[in-house]
Symmetry: D3
Subunit: 332 residues, 6 copies
């Protein structure tokens, strides 16, 4: 994975996405001609995986004065503790005060996604996880969400924009819509096989019209060695995918000589569900995870000034002065 460079959006640089009171603050300070060097530190409200710091760095690179700045931070994808100082900016306050909203927003949202992804990865014991949640978030963040899932440890993602940010190829199978439009699972799978370039995996979705085990055998017979996997996505109205179903499909495929065909599982997958499959010994070869990752709560972050003009300071409830954290690395 070799991620692309982040580029700050115009609406961020202009302050349009900021809380209006930061615009007012900069305005007042300018008129008062007050622009002390100030140190702002950022703290997460709960432990997790840091994500978004690369995007924040790209923003700070653009706005901080090159000759009067010092920025320290944890790295993209690193674990962070609750209330640990994860970022420290020292620079003239007017240069960055307007961007507090964007900085903590990026870190909160991306770290929320990456942390949820990591939770799935940790219980999956090496079975690959693909992020399938683009369909549950606004398209403006579909890409950055999938990027964060990759940072958190996912092996792939379904959106092209997310894959591009992460520097990988997007992953996918086929939607129910294709099968419904073509009217038969085997027919749709054969068409997929006919037109798609060979580097794209042949993964057939087998729960649309017939019993999953029966349909798995039908598509396996149709594609033979070229079939890479079947995907089980049984809806809750039919009891969802169960560990017993996976085992049975495995046995029936094996009995029919299709040991090479893998089984992917999707639909309501979360860490608890992944643990259930693993504890039940179900031979799953990959999980598609949707809203558990994409709908994860952001990890709210606090940004506090701890030094102004070299003097320790803090609002009530916080401790004045720089917060020591030997894990921080200088990034600017």
């Amino acid at each position: 994975m070799k991620p692309t460079e982040f580029e700050p959006a115009d609406t961020v640089l202009s302050g349009e996405t900021a809380d209006i009171y930061f615009a007012h603050t900069i305005d007042i300070l300018r008129r008062e001609a007050t622009n002390p060097v100030a140190t702002m530190e950022v703290f997460p409200s709960r432990a997790g995986i840091l994500c978004g710091i690369e995007e924040v760095k790209a923003l700070l690179t653009r706005v901080l004065p090159e000759d009067n700045r010092e920025v320290w931070a944890l790295s993209e994808g690193e674990a962070m503790g609750r209330k640990e100082a994860l970022l420290r900016i020292t620079a003239p306050y007017q240069s960055y005060g307007l961007y507090e909203t964007a900085i903590v927003g990026v870190l909160a949202h991306c770290s929320g996604w990456a942390t949820a992804a990591r939770q799935c990865v940790e219980v999956a014991e090496g079975i690959p996880i693909i992020s399938f949640g683009a369909r549950h978030v606004h398209p403006s963040v579909a890409g950055i969400m999938d990027y964060s899932a990759i940072v958190g440890g996912c092996d792939g993602c379904s959106s092209a924009s997310g894959a591009k940010l992460a520097g990988i190829e997007p992953s996918g199978t086929m939607p129910h819509a294709l099968i419904l439009v073509m009217g038969d699972t085997v027919e749709a799978t054969v068409a997929f096989d006919r037109y798609m370039p060979s580097e794209i995996s042949r993964i057939s979705l087998v729960d649309t019209f017939k019993d999953e085990a029966e349909e798995s055998l039908r598509v396996a017979e149709a594609l033979g060695d070229r079939l890479n996997a079947v995907r089980l996505d049984t809806p809750s109205e039919r009891g969802g995918v169960t560990a017993d179903l996976v085992k049975e499909v495995r046995v029936r495929l094996d009995l029919a000589g299709f040991k090479h065909v893998k089984i992917l599982v999707s639909g309501g997958i979360d860490p608890e569900r992944i643990a259930y499959f693993i504890e039940s010994g179900a031979p799953v070869d990959g999980f598609g995870v949707g809203s558990y990752i994409s709908g994860a709560r952001p990890i709210d972050c606090t940004a506090d000034l701890h030094e102004v003009d070299g003097k320790p300071i803090a609002k009530r409830g916080r401790t004045p002065g720089i917060t020591p954290n030997p894990r921080l690395k200088r990034i600017l």
Copy 2:
């Protein structure tokens, strides 16, 4: 409120933000020369307030063939039941199949925000709610999040981009940073009063350096009649804002002759907390709500084909044919 027009982003139109398998699907169908008129319906996974349908309409207006389309939907801000059909699109499948990810993503995310806002509004019994959560989401969705909060019933929001989408002015007080940089709450408030245009409310944040009650009296004495309100945002390290604190500040302001000064409360506000203040009889004049709204889980939506070429169809677990819903209005 007179919202701006929505404009589909290029990355949505190009399919970059879509699940890759929809791109494959359209590709296969084109090669197969299969393009039936198909009816897709969208259903929310839980009850809530619909939001995002205006943005979806703007997208469909661009992509559906004008002479062969029919779109029915509930309205922006309307209540929707669990699994109620909220949108029905009938058009040649190739014209819109690629946009399934974006359509359900917009609806899921925006409806999640609007629904959380509505929950706050419903318990607040008429006390205004301002959306303060831009700092907890990625800046790419800060504006649409605040717009959704307004659709859900909030009286204002802090981001300029959100206010613009909603056709209102942004709301704000002052950040702790201004007070910390200037070194004193009274001094910062006086500066704010000096430079800000008169149409902007004078709202002083009174928990930075001194006891909230003491500071409230100090800023009230400094600004007199021009002070509109004080904002209490006591951090959890100091016990947070309590109903008793609000009552005490009210009594102390009243005893000193500042009955016109309102009291706003922020910091960890959610419906439970709002109910607590109201049940305790605390004289709050406004609530600032942050991550309860901005971090709300999206309301995942399902999109299913129910008719292809005029024939009822459905995948296993779903009922074939058009799902009746007399509440739908034709929008295209």
Copy 3:
């Protein structure tokens, strides 16, 4: 329903099935020449539906002296309260003391079954219930269990011996074994239709090899008007029968013109599950209930002497003298 006459078993009359200490007691009393007229009353440990009193009456008719006996009781199928006196026997103690074990055993076991059946009937709101639990109890009580279920309100039962006791015809569909031996559901259903007398309902079991909805349509097409019903018995490994599945099969049968085909549901059915189907609005036409009825806990009964030789008496913890109960009817 016109039940058969009960006939006491030889092993009961001989005292073989009794607690040995009652045999000792009768032996001692005979040697002591002590045979007072004593009144024994029976009380259930929890409320329920009385069953077994007809069998008890048959026993008492055989053993009590015709000229010195008085027996009062509630009726078969009547509701009884917790600790209500449900049976009162007044006769020379030696004539019936040996049968205490059998009397309370019959009443406890049968009332337990009848009460469980009644609980199902009460939530089913008129939808017929068939007792399918013979396979979960020892064959020596399979018949009396099914008889008790009928007393409790079931509309039918699967065992021939139970049906005979209750004076009805046994009910049944077909087992998975028939389908597995014949290799196909349609083939098995057609064979059933070919050989079975016309008064036996044609009910096809549709979950053995294929998706239930698909199989339902196949058997409906094969038998046409002669198909009475399909039975859904989806195993838990496949998520069990869900309300959504019943609805979907109904819609698919109706769309294909098979509105006359009923839908029966079995597999893990209990009152909670019946309520779930009814609250979900699933169009079920009949429930098969197994171990909820047949495995019901007996309603333990207490038998106490309350009068000996006309004098009130009782062990510690019980109230001396006859326990008044105006609901008792004289049966001997």
Copy 4:
């Protein structure tokens, strides 16, 4: 213990106790001249102690063709795991299909009883357990219930029929009825002692008329060395038997020189209650257990065909082919 031989009942052999649909099935297969060699396996729905396999073996010995049968099973009293294959029958299907109901019914009911007995035995740490529950079940199964309790580990049972099946002598004390009829505990105990053969234990029930401790001393003084034990059966209306009561009776008996008199406890005994007495250090010499064993839920069993004519087969949700289990022993 040397159990008697089991003998299949006529009502079982005739199919009268079977689910009617098995009779139909055999009828259809005969007319179709279909009689493949089929393998049926039986699986318990939860872990426990297997009981009833001897009775099942007696039935199979009668019905399977001697030259074309193979039966493998676990042994009477052996532990079985959840869903472990406990019995495998391979024979022409028509020879045994009718008996599926009886086979799983015997195994379910008997294993339920034996398992409950084992649970009591396991917490009792060597203190003997007597099955006293005949009075809570139908007399048709009183004997087989007590037999199953012995298989589960009980040291004795109260029914003569149960003791006979298990090849032991029945156990018993005296009922409240004897004492109430004779009017005094000491008088009843003395009469018992006078008439009963010397090999029967003298165990006096001491809670009928007077305080248990007082009565214990009275009967001990009356019988002296010949008194084997007292039984405490205090009713719940008087607080039930408590550990403190046992300790106190023990001390009072010892102080009066009756160290040889044992103390038995009955009334609402179950594993939790046994554990309570043991953890409290109460010197109990034996427990009488009633409805915990006799009212135990059967362990429902599933019978599935896994091979027909040598080919692996299974209904949906089950795995085709023989289920490996190296613990099975060939019994026929």
Copy 5:
């Protein structure tokens, strides 16, 4: 009831029982010659029954200057709400500051006892309650505790000192010790009857040596019409007193012609237990309540200065100025 006058103890007047810092405070204020008229108000931390105000009034009468004092309060035995102002003292601070500890201590402890008593009285539906808890508190407060129980609604108490404070006669039955020393319940009861003046009730304690029902009949036969009541106090080791025991003793006494003998119940009685007897329909004629009342938690009280020299004042967290309460009556 005509209570005695309260008299402040010397150790209270001298300040010996006060928190030492109040002694320091008075010392400092004297040296500073600061003695403003100050208003102190007292608030309970939870709702309850006020008790102790008469004792507090006696103290204030002694220490406040007659010509410069004003005291308002709720009345002894009145209900008070949580945080309601229950007492307001206006006088020169030096005259009463030292007694803050004693004032709130008296009110907290006495109100705790009275409130617990009231809870018993409220569920007892008119059945008399006697305070039996002197044995669970230090003898220095045994009297004031029993006085508080009477204020809370008890009909009597066992301590002579409490009865004296409340202006009534003490109530009592007999202790187990008397029976144990004399060796027999009947003998002890007869001796009691022989020597005690006729105005003292004959109440026999019937659980010492024999079964309660048996003993009740023995003492009733011994004293005949002169026996007023029996008291059941069965220890927990024997299951405690149950509703069934009360009913049984009642029936046995009635059957034997002792309808005039009442039944008192003691031992672990609290409101929950009283409700249990009443809901069970047990014919109890009186309850003896011990540690539920005597061990009740004090109702902690807060004492705050709200006015000094006529000016509203308050510490942080409290509201400056007099707290309005129209229910207060002037008492000094």
Copy 6:
């Protein structure tokens, strides 16, 4: 610590505080001329720290005949198990029977307080605990309560009477009243410093008018090296004292050069709260504990006769004869 001698109160010696039935008992026994040597043992209803035995010993010394007594007991402050014999008196019954109420009352109440104190001490890991609860109990027991807290392990107490009983000096800071009367925390602290003898610690209460951190710095600057500590007692209306507040005050004092100033915490302190501060790493130097200790439930004690005239005896539910306890020491 060198405690004072206890002296029995006249109201105890006269029997005024006793349950009236003990007075009756002694009266009856005198008239019957029955005065056997009897052994009474006392047992606590739950485990805890024994306290009050010194006061009981003082009473027994006064009332038991010197030549015919034997008293064994555990020691003041020793741990006692549930239902362990903690005191054994052997003497003529008439000499001590009247004092049963006082003996168990003293032990119950004092042990309750000492046990609660010990619970605080055990979680405090060496941080000193001061008993501040005199204000929550009746002044008649304020001293003995504080004495018991010291026995339980507290380092000090606020009442002079308690300190005297324990042989130590009372501890205290200053009340809110002093600050409210003087109008300013600094002014009050300076006055305290001016007049109080030097051996009394200078501890300033810093939450009355201003923010605690701000006020701490103000008093530290005013007293400099002479300030020993600040006390945080933030009321619940302001969120109570939090671990974060303690940390912040510590850092701000240290930054300003006042490392010698300690921090005491009070207000709603109990073991759970102490554990919270310790687990949070808050640098607390001492806790003031109020109603957790002073409002502790007494440990109800049972007094039973176990031997009369040398013969083992006991009421039902108890074991006759002396209860062995090798831990008892002879005290009289």
